[in-house]
């Protein structure tokens, strides 16, 4: 590997890109890999629309320099449909109409998945607290809280294999 390329794992696939120092991970995913499910809302780390999973932890892709992902494992919304928690969340978001324009939703689901990984029985306040770094301008948040609560319940009722 030469100095001017970086390698990382994107949604289970080994990939290699030129290391450009000025770009952030969000732009890298969107422009280099066409993974446009990750959305750019504010580019200063407030809105959470660009949340992705890096080495198992949710990060703001707009605050993560592209070169920081060298050697890391990155997961995005497009390929997490097979993830049990994400699938349950997506079903619940549709059932509860917990989204309107959908721009915040991929980032919101990243955050909710992380919550459910650490807490299988979150109460409403814990859910509201957990998603307080994700801006949704359309819904009143209530349907999102209910969807995450529903997803937690359905995951408890159908234990993983």
């Amino acid at each position: 590997m030469s100095d001017d390329t970086i390698r990382f794992t994107l949604n289970g696939r080994d990939v290699m890109v030129p290391a450009t120092t000025r770009g952030h991970l969000g732009d890298l995913l969107r422009h280099e890999f066409g993974e446009t499910g990750t959305h750019i809302g504010c580019e200063h780390g407030v809105c959470g629309a660009c949340n992705v999973v890096m080495n198992g932890v949710v990060v703001r892709s707009c605050l993560t320099l592209a070169v920081q992902v060298a050697g890391a494992e990155i997961e995005t919304i497009e390929h997490l449909g097979n993830d049990r928690d994400v699938a349950a969340l997506q079903d619940a978001f549709v059932a509860r109409n917990a989204f309107q324009c959908g721009y915040c939703t991929p980032g919101m689901i990243m955050t909710a998945r992380e919550l459910l990984n650490g807490n299988t029985t979150p109460c409403r306040e814990e859910i509201r607290d957990a998603i307080s770094g994700n801006l949704c301008r359309c819904t009143g948040y209530q349907a999102i809280v209910e969807a995450i609560s529903d997803a937690a319940e359905s995951l408890r009722e159908t234990p993983s294999e």
């Binding site: 989204f99 607290d129 307080s132």
Partner: protein, 791 residues
């Protein structure tokens, strides 16, 4: 599937067609990439008011990857400035607004130079290399500054900054005030806000010199309006332009307007003959998106001994920004802020003077509710002040003054409002029961003795929805304001609905599909929706003023009836019965003898493939188009009542929201799952307006809080659960009866919070005046009252 669901109306169906959005498969404007596409970045004006002395672009042009550096004079060769002076709006004026500043810039953030490059990053780098020598000019930024006698002109073309002056109601209301038992008077201030769509504005324009056709993809609400705007500004035939709106990440009125920077991007494509993309970044969004709400007002209200309103006398001063926004102007907010004052009530004598002021700030325009949140806040605060003066409970004060219809023989209220029928009594009754109002008042009184300051705020509203040609036509605004549906039966029995209505997340398209599926009693998945594309949809408005179901739903219903009637004519011949005896059940024709075995798919195949087998020989239309506007009504009126329960910490000035209720009458509810979250989302935006949101400019006109960390919007942690109830009074203007619901939450919530905070502070003999009610402003109100007591 139960019977109710099968007929479409009233079923809380999830939006299965929107599942792709939760899976990251949306297609928003920045997700679209065209071959050989270039990118634009703008150099923007650094001062509130300035004059360009010299421009030097040589260094920028030399940067590798830069294709063109274009200034206002270059662009003016292919693109006319916006002229926003509709002939039907008297005493209104706006300077011409060029796509790029030609000489005089009038607000900080106005686009000055377009740099076009292979990538956005290169374009932004090159912007840094452009040199502009500026002369800073004196500016008028606040409304007070703009209206003062020695105000600096906002634009060199006008000596004063008065952009609009209008009086609603009668000239003289003095009789009502002279005979009153009580007169209350108050002043109001409303801070500037902006819509903050999570997806900023964005556009791709492609002028193809080979075909002499312009294609535009834009994150927008009204594609037909934009086709006509671009045709006019660029001098192109309307039919040479196609505007498509892909998935839109929030709009809220902000994406209703024509923006100079987006026009510039289109003009750049025309100049270069290449596809051009421009995506607004967050700072640009704050400084150049339509702003809203900035207003100062005073109001007097006269009541008799029993608390009946005898008269209202108001003055509203509205901040327009540098230009009246194109094409609908900035006067809508000002006019509705004045016209809707007192709308829920029988108000006796009415006078409201409204003035609009040019300012060296971003242009103001439509944002969810358009002026109505201001009118509602003024009205409800006045009602509370009057109730206190008369010693009447605020809920009772509202009840005894509610209006239900226009006075006999009247065409409109004194303010010119055309009202069909209101249901405020029923809404209030249901609301008070849901919140257990009396019990809350008892609890409030008890807690006050312990020094706990809880407030209960009520807000009744009347909302104008489905605004159409009846309003725009007389103003001289050439706008598509009807909504249309083109419905096609496919050979396989599925249906295609091409609608002029657009959907930015409201779920309108899903609800239209649900409605159409119900009319033929087929699964919603059998209806394919096409929208947001002037190349593929019938002519019509799009999305504003809560019109999707109210107008688009009725157009769809009428199209269904016509298509179905043609099919029934065929089926009646086959079944040897009267067409009127037929209906659809589970997609099958049901006749006098029950299910006929003839399905929608059979009819589709017969008409498309074997028309010669139709007994009459007459093939009914397989595509029908219906367009709808209410007859004799400029708009529809919905209504409702909000209530909030909150606690103010009088030491910290903080507000904790404890509970929230709304009872809304939006007429027929097609899908309550969608409608209820429209209300909740609107209410949360209204809470943002009341507590957090303000575009803060420095005295010199610099935007000071242009990040989402500094301009605070509601997040989940601080928001309450919201209880939604409905009263259903279908409008008689349509067969469907839907009135619209998109703005109802935002119209009432700021008024409810204002009322509740002032109610909480009432033992301290103070009230809040300026929105948003930040901790600082609440503490200032408390301290001012303390100081007054000590003196």
């Amino acid at each position: 599937m139960n019977k109710m669901m099968s007929k479409g109306i009233g079923a809380p169906l999830p939006r299965e067609s929107a599942r792709r959005l939760v899976e990251g498969r949306g297609s928003y404007i920045d997700d679209i990439v065209l071959p050989s596409m270039l990118h634009v970045a703008f150099l923007r004006a650094p001062f509130a008011h300035g004059r360009i002395l010299e421009i030097d672009t040589a260094e920028a042009r030399e940067l590798p990857g830069v294709v063109a550096v274009i200034d206002g004079k270059d662009l003016a060769k292919v693109c006319a400035p916006f002229d926003t002076n509709p002939p039907g709006v008297p005493h209104h004026s706006s300077p011409p607004q060029p796509a790029l500043v030609i000489e005089e810039s009038c607000f900080q953030g106005e686009a000055v130079i377009a740099v076009v490059a292979q990538s956005r990053a290169i374009a932004e780098d090159a912007v840094e290399l452009v040199f502009v020598d500026w002369e800073e000019l004196p500016a008028s930024c606040s409304i007070k500054e703009a209206q003062s006698d020695d105000a600096a002109p906002v634009h060199g073309g006008f000596e004063t900054n008065l952009a609009l002056r209008h009086r609603l109601g009668v000239e003289d209301v003095s009789n009502a005030f002279e005979s009153a038992a009580h007169v209350v008077e108050a002043s109001f201030e409303f801070g500037r806000q902006t819509g903050v769509t999570l997806e900023p504005r964005g556009i791709i324009a492609h002028w193809d010199p080979r075909t002499e056709a312009l294609e535009v993809w834009q994150s927008h609400q009204v594609p037909w309006q934009m086709r006509e705007v671009y045709a006019k500004q660029l001098g192109l035939p309307q039919q040479s332009i196609r505007v498509t709106t892909p998935d839109v990440g929030g709009a809220f009125g902000l994406k209703l307007h024509a923006y100079a920077d987006e026009l510039a991007a289109v003009a750049v494509s025309k100049l270069l003959g290449r596809p051009v993309k421009y995506i607004v970044d967050r700072l640009e969004a704050f400084t150049s998106d339509a702003h809203a709400r900035e207003a100062n007002a005073t109001c007097r209200m006269a009541i008799d001994l029993e608390g009946h309103i005898l008269g209202i006398d108001a003055v509203v001063d509205s901040g327009f920004g540098a230009y009246s926004i194109h094409p609908r102007g900035s006067f809508g907010e000002a006019m509705q802020a004045a016209q809707l004052i007192g709308a829920p009530y029988n108000v006796g004598a009415f006078r409201a003077v409204v003035q609009g002021w040019r300012q060296n700030k971003a242009p103001s325009g439509a944002y969810r509710g358009v002026g109505q949140p201001i009118a509602c806040a003024i009205t409800e605060d006045m009602i509370d002040l009057a109730a206190r003066a008369a010693g009447i409970d605020p809920a009772e004060m509202r009840r005894i003054n509610y209006r239900s219809t226009l006075d006999a023989g009247a065409r409109a209220t004194q303010s010119g409002l055309v009202i069909e029928e209101l249901s405020l009594d029923a809404c209030l009754e249901k609301l008070l029961e849901a919140m257990d109002y009396k019990e809350l008042r008892v609890e409030q009184a008890g807690l006050r003795k312990q020094g706990i300051h809880r407030g209960i705020g009520l807000a009744s509203f009347v909302e104008i929805t489905g605004v159409g040609a009846g309003l725009y036509g007389p103003l001289g605004l050439p706008l598509a304001a009807n909504e249309a549906c083109r419905l096609t039966l496919q050979p396989d029995g599925s249906l295609t609905c091409a609608t002029s209505v657009t959907d930015q997340g409201q779920g309108t398209l899903s609800a239209l599909g649900q409605l159409i599926a119900g009319e033929f009693d087929v699964a919603p998945g059998m209806v394919r929706m096409i929208a947001g594309d002037t190349g593929r949809t019938p002519y019509g408005g799009g999305a504003w003023a809560s019109r999707g179901m109210a107008l688009g739903g009725e157009a769809a219903r009428r199209a269904c009836v016509r298509l179905r009637n043609g099919l029934f004519d065929v089926a009646a011949e086959i079944l040897q019965c009267e067409p009127s005896a037929l209906s659809f059940e589970n997609g099958e024709v049901v006749g006098p003898k029950g299910p006929s075995g003839v399905t929608l798919a059979d009819l589709g195949a017969l008409c498309h493939y074997r028309p010669y087998d139709i007994p009459t020989g007459q093939v009914p239309p397989m595509t029908v188009e219906e367009s709808f506007l209410p007859a004799n009504l400029p708009y529809i009126t919905s209504n409702g009542v909000h209530a909030v329960h909150l606690e103010v910490d009088v030491d910290l000035g903080t507000v904790e929201l404890l509970d929230y209720w709304v009872v809304d009458d939006c007429g027929t509810v097609v899908n309550p799952l969608l409608v209820d979250e429209q209300l909740r989302g609107g209410i949360v935006q209204g809470i943002g307006a009341a507590l957090y949101e303000e575009c803060v400019y420095s005295e010199g006109g610099q935007f000071t809080n242009g990040t989402l960390a500094d301009y605070v919007v509601p997040m989940a942690g601080e928001m309450p659960d919201i209880h939604v109830g409905h009263i259903t009074t279908p409008t008689r203007a349509s067969g469907l009866g839907a009135k619209g619901v998109g703005e109802a939450g935002t119209v009432g919530a700021p008024a409810a919070l204002r009322a509740a905070i002032s109610d909480a502070l009432s033992p301290l003999a103070t009230r809040v005046v300026k929105q948003p009610f930040t901790t600082r402003r609440i503490l200032e109100a408390i301290m001012a009252a303390e100081n007054a007591r000590q003196q």
